[in-house]
């Protein structure tokens, strides 16, 4: 067991998978010589060489297309898009090629491609650099979408993503790279499609993913101080997300809050809520509460930007609304999230 950062965990996963399987290659902007703009690919060039760790030009669409073509030719590429914000440039290749080629060609191709990209806001990077666009990818049949949140699940899930014979979008969060956590030695690959029950509770289910795992946990701690025991679930996989774990939990707690960093419209909150209603409606004692980012492009100004991102207080208030206002901290605010 070692305590390492989320970044180091990803780096270890890459080293281990590249040592294990010679068909794994890494490509992206500044991944080789520069060792990655977030240093996730540090040391790879030195060990594996230029043939396997490839610096690309600034060509997001072609980076994804090249990974797809390389997979057709028998390789197992791990492409990096420097941030999710640049994924928009590659959406045709991701959603209109990679995601659908296997299906469209009647199963004649196998595309074991992993596309890694970090996202999220909160660092005053401006609206073009602060997206949470996972929903666009989750919406797309043919893709799998994973969002790691701790060093241990980052390492386990990246290994799983690389070994998966399907296209996997591996989302990371820029704000989590320095997060420390315990990672067991000889870690087995994780299971894509399985959510984690991070904290057990009986009163309300809080569903989260990505950096919101920590927001949910902080909210759960505050709620515990008020005598409310929240069950915190981290989806880990967004497509296919773990309906069973979520609905089982809501069936026991009868109240649900979903917290997601992205803007609200058609977000994961909407998707999870709709399914909770469809599957365990009779178990609900209150409507499902959604806590999401503000419905604006993220502004640069520090306080304004923070108002766009869910915090523990927002989740606590949402839990109180779900529980019918049994709050000791004052009335719920008027603005919803």
């Amino acid at each position: 067991m070692a305590v390492i950062t989320y970044r180091e965990a990803l780096n270890q996963a890459l080293f281990e998978e590249m040592r294990r399987d010679a068909s794994v290659i890494v490509c992206g902007e500044d991944v080789a010589l520069y060792e990655g703009s977030y240093k996730v690919t540090k040391g790879l060039l030195k060990e594996f060489g230029e043939r396997r760790v490839i610096d690309t030009p600034v060509s997001e669409a072609a980076i994804v297309g090249m990974a797809t073509g390389a997979a057709m030719g028998g390789l197992r590429p791990v492409a990096e898009l420097m941030t999710v914000n640049f994924a928009y440039l590659a959406l045709d290749q991701i959603c209109n090629h990679l995601a659908l080629m296997r299906y469209m060609f009647g199963g004649q191709v196998r595309l074991p491609v992993t596309i890694r990209m970090p996202g999220g806001g909160g660092h005053q990077l401006g609206s073009q650099h602060s997206h949470s666009l996972e929903v666009l990818l989750v919406h797309t049949p043919g893709l799998k979408v994973v969002f790691a949140s701790t060093p241990a699940n980052a390492k386990a899930l990246l290994k799983a993503a690389i070994r998966d014979d399907n296209p996997v979008i591996f989302l990371e969060h820029e704000g989590l790279y320095n997060t420390l956590g315990e990672v067991p030695d000889n870690l087995e690959p994780g299971t894509i499609g399985k959510a984690e029950v991070v904290r057990e509770g009986i009163d309300v289910t809080i569903v989260a993913y990505g950096a919101m795992r920590y927001v949910a946990l902080e909210a759960a701690q505050r709620l515990a101080g008020q005598g409310i025991e929240a069950e915190v679930l981290d989806l880990l996989t967004l497509r296919p997300w773990d309906k069973e774990t979520v609905t089982d939990s809501v069936a026991r707690t009868h109240h649900a809050v979903i917290v997601a960093e992205s803007p609200p419209v058609c977000g994961m909150g909407a998707e999870v809520a709709a399914n909770i209603y469809e599957i365990v409606y009779d178990e609900l004692d209150a409507p499902v509460e959604r806590v999401s980012g503000a419905d604006v492009p993220l502004p640069y100004a520090r306080e304004l930007e923070q108002a766009c991102i869910p915090h523990a207080d927002d989740v606590v208030r949402a839990a109180h609304r779900a529980l019918g206002g049994r709050s000791t901290t004052g009335p719920p605010d008027a603005g919803g999230h």
């Binding site: 090249m66 390389a70 469209m104 009647g106």
Partner: protein, 318 residues
Amino acid sequence: MNKRELMDVYYRMKLVRSFETRVAEEYAKGRIGGFCHLYSGEEAVAVGTLWHLRPEDYVIGSYRDHAYYLLRGGDPGKAMAELFGHGDGCCKGKGGSMHLFDASTNFLGGYAIVGGMCPLAVGLGLSIKYRNEDRIVLCFFGDGATNQGVYHEALNMASLYELPVVWVCENNYYAIGTSVARSSAVESLARKAKAYGMPTSTVDGMDFLKMQSVAKRAIAHARSGNGPAFVEAKCYRYRGHSMSDPGTYRSKEEIEHWKQRDPIPRIKAVIQHDFEAAEEEFEELDRKVRLALDEAVALAEAGAELPRQRLYEDLYVE
């Protein structure tokens, strides 16, 4: 080239032309739906470039892909069945006309996004170089693709990494109804490609002999490990962009001008001039083509779409 080879060229071009004509008939009967793009007129380009390929080479191209599928050795019956949307089609009816694919002949697909296949060719080239394989990638696209962003990204990367790719631009002068003159600031598509640092050539794509000669050089270059090559084949599609296109943007005179340069009578004339070839020999090949097509349509007619229960097959590898 000897007589036997040239007769084979005639057969191949005739097969493509007749297949497309037959497809148009079936489409008009309502048995083929959606978008359908025919290669009639451009046969010399595909036959000429594929002539120098080996079975292990990869071919990838646009939605005007029936010719590539057939010429790589694909079963015309499975192509026709695919166009009919049937489960015994080459893609189980999931792809349709624009998305034929035959892994067994290394024909790696028709793609509907103009220029979208170009970075796939880069990736295939990368895999070849990585695995030290003795093969190349032939990537077909049209004049329209030369203005798409990702095309430029792909050409740059293939040259940068010195990949074994042959870029074949089928310049039929029109992207649907917009001519090259109205869409490309530089009308020489080979000249635009030259900016990415590779040998380029421009060739009469209506002339099989010239086409194969230029293709041979380009393919040899790609095989040498010295990076990609580019071929601009000037050609003409006799029909509209697709079955839905009445083609009113081209004058009758222009079409007639290009019909005078039909590659099929042209190669026939060469064979008759250079060798002794009786009319009966060509008629024999025409019969062979008709038979192949009748069989293909019969196979397609006998089939059916996949049942609804099989809708979710082939989405993910389990």
